[in-house]
């Protein structure tokens, strides 16, 4: 119920924002998007990929663009880029069942490793953050803020003592919630602007123990493997695999989500 209301508000805000930014250029890109979707429907994956990539290069996107681009790459047999774009779609729209299904399906074709189970509250927290998209959380921040203001108003203006008490504690609780939501929103925004997650795109790469050619081989990784970037050193990146192992990869071999 509350999610629906939030979604409705979110949609209204989105439409407002979008109509504010609507311009001739975005209209042309909108046409390109329709064209790209038609290419993809007709199975012309190469053309579809080109057109989607063009739209992205113009600085425009949404979850569907990434989703369809990932689909086209998958159909073309490019597993790494398919996963990369599906992951990007998931960031913008964390709860879309199609995106989640396709990601699971694609990951099943990559290297399988023993995933380190996160502590329950970490998993819970990550799941909680994924309930809404980054903009969804921003809307929640606004709504909580307004509710907190209402509570403060109740506290200030009510004649009735009970009402004023409710207002006071309500304002406290809502403020805390608001700060939590704000933290999540900022966190999700930075995840998109500067991601620490990456997908391996080279068909086969060597995970090295040190950032130079002399490092011994730890493992051979294949296209589509998900890694977390720990640190960067020149053309090397220290990455953590899903099974918890840490090693070094060439920056050219992967792309940030």
């Amino acid at each position: 119920m509350i999610r629906n209301i939030l979604k409705a508000i979110y949609t209204v805000v989105l439409v407002l924002v979008c109509s504010m930014y609507a311009s001739a250029q975005s209209q042309a890109l909108q046409d390109s998007l329709t064209q790209a979707n038609n290419y993809a429907k007709d199975g012309l994956n190469a053309q579809a990929i080109n057109t989607y990539e063009y739209i992205l290069s113009q600085g425009y996107t949404n979850a569907s663009v990434y989703y369809n681009l990932g689909y086209a790459y998958y159909k073309q047999g490019n597993l790494g880029r398919a996963i990369l774009n599906m992951e990007r779609a998931k960031k913008l729209n964390p709860n879309d069942p199609d995106i989640l299904y396709n990601l699971e399906h694609a990951y099943a074709m990559t290297d399988q490793m023993q995933v380190v189970e996160p502590v329950f509250f970490e998993a819970w927290w990550a799941g909680f953050k994924n309930i809404l998209s980054p903009n969804g959380w921003a809307v929640v921040v606004v709504i909580l803020f307004i509710l907190a203001l209402c509570a403060i108003a109740g506290f200030l203006f009510a004649n009735n003592i009970a009402l004023r008490k409710v207002g006071f504690f309500g304002a406290m609780v809502l403020s805390i919630f608001c700060i939590v939501a704000l933290t999540i929103a900022i966190n999700k925004r930075s995840e998109i602007i500067d991601s620490t997650e990456a997908i391996i795109l080279s068909s086969s790469v060597t995970l090295s123990t040190s950032p130079d050619k002399n490092g011994s081989e730890m493992a051979i990784l294949h296209e589509g493997t998900h890694v977390e970037i720990v640190s960067l050193l020149n053309e090397w990146a220290e990455v953590r695999l899903k099974d918890g192992n840490v090693g070094w990869l060439k920056v050219a071999d992967f792309e940030k989500i």
């Binding site: 992205l56 689909y71 399906h105 921003a138």
Partner: protein, 614 residues
């Protein structure tokens, strides 16, 4: 032919022996030289001299154009045998030379000489024919030569060591899956007795089929490398390569038992009858073969299931095409032609889920031939429709690689529409099935793929377009905040104003009360009791309301005392105030005699207001 030859040979041998024995000389000493009658240029060959006496002083004649590479190597053996109680000792020395001739031609090696008990003994002369190096599978026999022979056999049939095994393929280059025939032949002039050991190549990379029904060796005369041999077919295999690349077929190796006639030392007139036939073993190997297997071209069509060959025919039938539910339909999938029919897989038809289908019954009628398997293969499916309606067995396609045309050919059949009418009992069955519960099938997922595109057009957004910290975001934050702050200040001002008003009222309370009381006083003089008490009560209530800043409507006699005490008015004054009010109320309705005098009330009221004002 052979037997005639043998007869002649035997005759010559017999007569020769007869001569020798009748001469009675040198019967004890035999000295023979052996060499292959034909060698190729540059080939190493052996010349062996054997003598049945204990000597070691062999002298070779001058050899013109013949190189001695090695020799002589001597072998000495002594054997004792007891035949019919007579013990004979035989001694044998052999001298082996390895020689080579580098020019084509006919070479004679003059008799070699040894000295036995002071007498020189000469061997036979040897003639060697040197030919050009031909395609040379005859070389293969060289390695296998090993002899252990008895003296006195120089006269036995000419090229007794010549056993050649030849492997051949009918094609040198084929496509993966294309049939090729491997033939193994034995060429020989030796008198073969039996085969002790046969090692045929392991045909691991092929599907192979033996094309021979009768494995016994049937010798016929034939020619090989310009020479006449007895030829027998030792094996014929149909091979279907299973991988591409250069495939090597290992040599075939046989160990033959070769019959050899041996003269008994002394001999006699009838020695031919008493000749021993000895069998010695000889191991011969063929050369290995290599076959170039070309991979099938890419891309392969969708319906390709491994078929390679020619003249393939594809036939699918579904009968009958109109049935009632629970009656069976027969679907036949048949492929016929010539090629690797035995190993290709037949296309599998897809049946609607409402059809029960059973594992197919497969049958084949194949004959192996030089171009692979000929004939047909068939799979027969039995399907039973469980629900009525119009169904379709989808189009079925079969692709094969045509080796004649060098390209893929796709054959299609169908689709086959099938009309299923409701059977007589099916209505009842349906309802019982539903209630039996267990009859319902779980949905079968045939193939899983990623989910389809999101095809509805969605609004594009700028990549950096975040609602958080955007203009709209700050607007949404600051507008309500500003409204709240504005409200707060407005509220504060209103409170302040109210407070001011009350202060004024408080200040004016005494004045108003006095004014009212003055008016009441005027009623005393006029002796209007009711108006007087009304006026006093109004004055007192009005005073209290202004004094305590409580609206008149909220004041009652019940809460007045409390409120007064809250506003730090002494208990005595509060009580007096209430008492005066009670007195007024009472006096208003009571007869004049019973009530207090108007002057008393007036004074008390004025007193209590005055006290409260201090």
């Amino acid at each position: 032919m052979m037997t005639v030859n043998k007869h002649i040979l035997r005759f010559i041998t017999l007569s020769l022996i007869f001569c020798l024995t009748s001469l009675g000389l040198m019967a004890q000493t035999s000295f023979t030289g052996q060499a292959p009658s034909t060698v190729t240029v540059g080939e190493n060959f052996r010349v062996i001299y054997k003598v049945n006496a204990d000597v070691n002083n062999i002298r070779l004649p001058e050899l013109d154009g013949i190189n001695i590479l090695y020799g002589p190597s001597t072998q000495h053996s002594t054997s004792y045998s007891s035949i019919n109680g007579k013990v004979t000792t035989s001694v044998e020395n052999s001298f082996t030379y390895v020689m080579r001739i580098d020019k084509v031609g006919t070479y004679n090696i003059d008799p070699a000489t040894i000295t036995v008990e002071g007498q020189p003994v000469r061997s036979n002369a040897i003639t060697i024919n040197v030919i050009k190096d031909a395609s040379s599978s005859s070389n293969a026999t060289q390695g296998g030569q090993k002899q252990q022979s008895q003296p006195g056999t120089a006269q036995s049939s000419g090229n007794k060591d010549d056993i050649i095994i030849v492997q051949s393929l009918n094609k040198s280059s084929v496509y993966e899956g294309e049939a090729v025939v491997l033939t193994i032949k034995i060429y020989t002039n030796a008198d073969l007795n039996n085969i002790f050991d046969a090692k045929e190549p392991s045909l691991d990379n092929f599907v192979s089929q033996d094309l021979m029904e009768d494995r016994s060796l049937q010798f016929q005369l034939g020619e090989y490398n310009g020479r006449t041999y007895h030829v027998a077919l030792a094996g014929r295999y149909l091979l279907i390569p299973q991988k591409s690349g250069n495939i090597t077929i290992d040599p075939t190796e046989y160990e033959f038992g070769v019959k050899k006639r041996i003269r008994n030392g002394g001999g006699g007139f009838f020695s031919g009858f008493f000749d021993d036939i000895q069998i010695y073993r000889q191991r011969v190997a063929s050369k290995s073969l290599s076959l170039n297997v070309k991979p099938l071209p890419q891309p392969r069509p969708a319906g390709f299931s491994g078929g390679v060959g020619t003249n393939f025919k594809f036939n699918v039938s579904a009968t009958p095409d109109q049935v009632e539910t629970d009656n069976s339909i027969q679907v036949k999938v048949a492929v016929s032609g010539e090629g690797n029919l035995k190993i290709l897989s037949l296309p599998k038809p897809q049946f609607h889920q409402d059809f029960d289908s059973f594992d197919p019954k497969e049958s084949s009628n194949l004959k192996a031939g030089a171009n692979g398997f000929m004939g047909s293969r068939e799979a027969e499916y039995l399907i039973i429709p469980r629900r009525d309606g119009d169904f379709e067995i989808p189009q079925l396609s079969f692709s094969y690689f045509n080796t004649e045309q060098g390209k893929y050919v796709t054959l299609t059949q169908g689709p086959f529409p099938i009309h299923v009418a409701k059977g007589a009992n099916s209505g009842n069955n349906q309802s019982t099935q539903v209630f039996q519960g267990g009859q319902r099938e779980q949905v079968q997922y045939v193939g899983k793929d990623i989910r389809y595109l999101h095809t509805n057009d969605t609004e594009l957004k700028s990549k950096d377009d975040f609602f958080l910290f955007s203009g709209a975001f700050w607007t949404c934050i600051f507008c309500p905040l500003a409204i709240l702050i504005a409200c707060f200040f407005a509220y504060r001002k209103k409170i302040k104003d109210n407070a001011n008003m009350m202060a004024v009222k408080k200040r004016r309370a005494n004045k108003v009360a006095k004014k009212r009381l003055k008016k009441a006083q005027s009623f005393i003089t006029k002796n209007e009791r009711e108006n007087f008490f009304d006026e006093v009560m109004r004055a007192m209530w009005g005073y209290l309301s202004d004094k305590l800043s409580i609206p008149m409507s909220e004041l009652t006699k019940d809460n007045a005392r409390e409120k007064m005490l809250e506003h730090s008015i002494s208990e005595a004054d509060a009580d007096e105030f209430i008492n005066v009010l009670d007195a007024c109320e009472f006096a208003r309705y009571a007869p004049a005699e019973l009530s207090d005098k108007m002057e008393d009330i007036y004074n008390r009221a004025a007193d209590v207001i005055g006290r409260m004002e201090k």
